[in-house]
């Protein structure tokens, strides 16, 4: 901060609404794309793991190991390989979602009681029909809980992708530029918006969780 400078300059914000909005959109892109990719990959892995229980331990070990690698290291290693393309940011952000998503998805699938599966079989459902009509709907609460945790994590990690360069942008870019120029308004705004975005995502999925699982919170008071 330079001497005599205001900590928060609302005039600057009013004059830069366009570029701030662009950063928010970029951040959403950095969050939504890895999240969708992570969901697709995790669904496949979870279905495989539920059918092939021996695969569960290695799959969680590998996703757990990926989760352990600090994000700055992951982004930095991929940058020389993929250059300043979106892939460099998307790949690590996707792999970080896998641990949470695979664990919750596979737990959701295997939580379906055996009687229900047998009933579905008795009704003549094929494996595919059983998956889409019985197992997936019953697994929905845990699936959404996993997506919620993964989305908040991804929003946080996406701020660090800004270190890779302006090409990815996102709210982390506001923070980085603000720090480089000793301009508190910019970095505080970037920080505040990323916190808000994380809370908004958390709140959104809690609402969805409630909407699709009305039975879960009816008995929430009783332990």
């Amino acid at each position: 901060m330079l001497p005599g400078q205001q900590i928060f300059d609302f005039g600057w914000i009013a004059g830069h609404l366009d570029s701030i909005f662009l950063r928010i959109v970029q951040h959403l892109q950095l969050t939504v794309v890895p999240l969708l990719l992570g969901i697709v990959i995790s669904l496949v892995l979870a279905v495989w793991v539920v059918r092939q229980p021996r695969a569960y331990a290695p799959v969680t070990a590998v996703t757990g190991l990926l989760y352990t690698i600090p994000s700055l290291a992951a982004f930095a290693v991929l940058r020389p390989i993929f250059g300043l393309t979106l892939l460099t940011a998307i790949i690590p952000l996707t792999t970080y979602t896998l641990l949470i998503l695979v664990r919750n998805f596979s737990a959701g699938f295997s939580a379906v009681p055996a009687e229900i599966l047998e009933a579905a079989e008795g009704m003549g459902y094929t494996r595919r029909q059983r998956l889409f009509r019985v197992e997936l709907p019953l697994a929905v609460p845990l699936i959404i809980a996993g997506i919620r945790l993964a989305s908040v994590t991804t929003i946080g990690l996406a701020t660090i992708a800004a270190v890779l360069g302006d090409a990815f942008g996102g709210l982390g870019q506001l923070i980085t530029e603000g720090i480089q120029n000793f301009f508190p308004t910019k970095y505080l705004l970037g920080a505040a918006l990323s916190v808000l975005l994380a809370f908004a995502a958390d709140f959104l999925f809690v609402r969805i969780e409630h909407l699709v699982t009305p039975w879960a919170h009816a008995k929430a008071g009783a332990r």
């Binding site: 901060m1 900590i7 979870a46 793991v49 539920v50 229980p53 021996r54 569960y56 331990a57 969680t60 989760y67 352990t68 690698i69 600090p70 994000s71 700055l72 290291a73 992951a74 930095a76 290693v77 940058r79 020389p80 641990l99 949470i100 664990r103 919750n104 737990a107 959701g108 699938f109 295997s110 939580a111 845990l142 809980a145 996993g146 945790l149 908040v152 929003i155 946080g156 990690l157 701020t159 660090i160 270190v163 890779l164 709210l171 923070i175 980085t176 603000g178 720090i179 508190p184 970095y187 505080l188 970037g190 920080a191 505040a192 990323s194 916190v195 994380a198 809370f199 958390d202 332990r223």
Partner: protein, 260 residues
């Protein structure tokens, strides 16, 4: 690949402020300090709410809020304060620009998993055991020390494990603010263009090795602390979900706990 090995065998990378030993020491010091302070704050509170079950809703909600704050944001939010307090409290402005905000962010981020892990650990103890302890005439303090803590210790270490990972990763990001630590090899490399490649790879290898190594040590400790009867086989037999309660500690808490 050969370049990276060359980086490690170059003797100039092993001496001075920007040498590997000093950067590793910086990383370990700031990580250790913030884990220590976070434990001093979170452990007593976690033990209290876990033992009494009072204020648990508030604590879990606060921990969930803490979990949602991006670490990079957390690091710059205290900056105006730590910078303007420098002349008042008489510390070096550089300290207020790097070490102090990074340390505060790391401590803040380490508290939720520690708090939730401690709380969840104590709540996982069978109520009948506690009643039996009371029946035997144990005082509350003794119940905590002799029944609850031994049974809960592996889950508490699980929270500690998540907190440690979080802290090591955040110390890495601290390099963006100019803080010390192994992240500097990565961040300085990113600023050197093509010439910085080797430094980036070497830094990434060291950071990942540190995180994975520390995690493996703590996983071993966690296993040793798990009561023999509760130990699972080498491979978990059925998938366990990450519940709302263990959101702050995604890899360590058994899922049989009720989601809150």
């Amino acid at each position: 690949m050969g370049d990276v090995i060359g980086f490690f065998t170059d003797p100039t990378h092993w001496e001075g402020t920007s040498g590997i030993p000093n950067r590793l020491l910086e990383h370990l010091v700031i990580s250790g300090l913030s884990i220590l302070v976070a434990t001093l704050i979170a452990l007593p509170i976690g033990l209290f709410i876990g033992h009494t079950n009072r204020g648990s809703g508030l604590a879990i909600n606060l921990a969930n809020i803490g979990r949602a704050v991006p670490s990079y944001a957390m690091m710059v939010i205290p900056l105006p304060l730590t910078l303007s307090l420098a002349p008042v409290l008489g510390y070096d402005p550089g300290f207020g620009l790097t070490f102090l905000p990074i340390f505060l962010a790391m401590t803040f981020l380490a508290i939720p998993p520690l708090l939730v892990g401690t709380y969840a650990g104590l709540r996982s103890v069978d109520r009948d055991l506690i009643e039996a302890g009371r029946g035997m005439g144990l005082r509350e303090r003794q119940i905590l020390a002799r029944i609850e803590l031994p049974i809960a210790s592996s889950i508490i270490v699980g929270g500690f494990r998540t907190a440690t990972l979080q802290v090591i990763a955040t110390a890495t990001i601290g390099a963006i603010l100019g803080g010390g630590g192994l992240g500097r090899f990565i961040f300085d490399g990113l600023n050197q263009g093509l010439a910085g490649r080797t430094s980036i790879y070497a830094g990434a290898v060291m950071v990942a090795a540190l995180a994975i190594g520390v995690d493996m040590i703590l996983a071993w400790v966690q296993r040793q602390l798990t009561p023999r009867a509760l130990r699972k086989g080498r491979r978990p037999d059925r998938p366990t979900p990450i519940t709302r309660l263990e959101a702050a500690t995604p890899r360590s808490i058994p899922a049989k706990l009720d989601p809150l």
